[in-house]
Symmetry: C2
Subunit: 325 residues, 2 copies
């Protein structure tokens, strides 16, 4: 994401000047720890980029960018507890480095710290940002709840799945962009287009993530290829296989998803990938990524017609979505 | 608390008209459940009472009262997880009725729902309420962290203990009153006096709670008398005993706090209570309650001089603090 490098640098800089309270250490040390674990900082960069697209400067958006990053890391701490994840970015998760109570409490404090960042804006703008932030935060909780609940279901509809990934991931991307636009004094309609752009982009990204988990290049994907298959996860590929596959193909999937045998892991990945390809699920997934990407680009061109400089965002969406397809 | 009956009725009424989102049920049912467990609703009543004291009406304060009650119940859900408490008000706690993940996630959502209530106020007032709310919420987290950390310490200073109970309990009482005053258009100085009144009142209440846990009337106290002693809790009585007691008395306390034997429970309570009395710790505790109560009444008379009707709040503080001493 070279196009985002200036924003990344600026955001890391503003993060360095952000002073957490020093006491009690048991509450604030874990927050400093997870913030220092790094990551690509895509969400805060989107706040800055949207603001600059609207008013040629992004300084004013730094507090909102910090709010979004604090919120995102709060969800990581609590999600890692729920997923019983020992590692995050190769380091111990907060609850495994400290303990469950610290994970809960430091996460709570981080959500409050996120809200506090909006106090730096004038009351009118603050009210607007807060309303968007609360609505989004609640949707992220709902998305996480749907995700957990889906694990117990035999089948999930495409509609329900899309809602889940949009709530869990895409709405925060969308809100980050809209916040930047609002701080950049965009009119209401343009701000909404930024939101829609983010929603389409975030949706494309998540579906693509499902695809790459099975078909990505092991050299560049970063995670273990086939991990979702081994966890029997109901990804977009599985939903499309259930929709498009023959009775035989669906039975074969059910059979392999019923097996958790360490000696046949490789075979399981190979067979399920073949099912995805032969049923047309893989192609349908690529098409869905393509459709959401096109939608996002279509919205960008609407923004361009409104006099907004979309070059960086266009470059970003291209870089993000042409990762490996 | 007869003096609060009209506020309790009004608040229960407004709680009934509050509609939670219906889906996903796994997220919102636990929130409806804990709200329906009831309780005395003291904090929201304080918001309403402070507002009415300032402007002869409390209708406008209902959303802030709801925010305070939602926040308080969010802390109950997460605290019950941390304390591994199976019961709350005689019913199963959220995490024991559902599970850990539900407790975490529904609690998170409840904190966001609390913030959302402030959207009903005009931007200027909203910004003021939000700043107070966030500061208070963070202090409550800090108080909880100190409380957990103190369990690991051999001794806690009176200063540290007072800070802990103020953050854990009194600041929310104080903020509830100040919010009501701000909504009631009180000037800045009066609003601050409401805060100070609440801080003194809340502190008196918590110290009194420590006292009643040992010396309360079993008929009226509601909890098991001596429970803190059996849990070896570092209450205000213990801190005063460590300060005022003889070496012998302190040694005797250490001895009994080192014993967790089911056959000597009654003896433990009897001996430790005698230590509290003979060392002067019990009297010092009564004096501290008295001093904070006096302080709160002194602040109330300052408010009265400023033309604010303090009758109900005075009656409330009297009823609360003369429970059983």
């Amino acid at each position: 994401m070279d196009c985002f490098a200036p924003y990344q640098t600026a955001f890391e800089q503003s993060l360095k000047t952000y002073k957490l309270p020093s006491e009690p250490k048991g509450l604030y040390d874990p927050i400093a720890y997870i913030l220092e674990l790094g990551g690509k900082r895509l969400r805060p960069c989107l706040v800055l980029a949207a603001c600059e697209a609207c008013k040629n400067a992004y300084g004013e958006a730094e507090k909102a960018a910090l709010a979004v990053e604090l919120f995102h890391n709060f969800t990581l701490i609590h999600d890692d507890i729920m997923d019983e994840a020992p590692l995050r970015r190769g380091k111990a998760t907060v609850h495994s480095k400290w303990n469950l109570n610290t994970g809960i409490l430091s996460g709570d404090a981080m959500l409050i710290l996120a809200y506090q960042q909006f106090a730096f804006y004038n009351p009118g703008l603050q009210a607007e940002l807060m309303a968007l932030f609360s609505k989004t935060a609640l949707e992220v909780c709902e998305g996480q709840e749907y995700d957990v609940a889906f694990e117990q279901l035999a089948a999930v509809s495409e509609h329900a799945y899309l809602k889940m990934i949009q709530f869990k991931t895409a709405v925060l991307v969308a809100a980050a962009l809209k916040m930047g636009a609002l701080i950049g004094s965009a009119d209401a309609e343009s701000a909404e287009l930024f939101y829609d752009f983010g929603l389409a982009l975030g949706t494309a990204f998540q579906i693509q993530d499902d695809y790459l988990d099975a078909f990505g290049d092991p050299e560049t994907f970063g995670k273990q290829v086939g991990g979702d298959i081994l966890e029997n996860k109901k990804t977009y590929l599985v939903i499309k296989l259930q929709e498009l596959g023959s009775i035989e193909q669906r039975k074969t999937l059910d059979h392999w998803f019923g097996i958790n045998d360490d000696t046949t892991l490789e075979e399981k990945v190979t067979v399920v990938k073949r099912l995805f390809t032969e049923s047309g699920a893989a192609e349908a997934t690529r098409k869905a990524v393509h459709a959401y990407t096109k939608e996002s680009q279509h919205i960008l061109s609407s923004l361009e017609k409104r006099g907004i400089k979309t070059t960086t965002l266009a470059a970003f969406s291209e870089a993000l979505l042409l990762r490996n397809l």
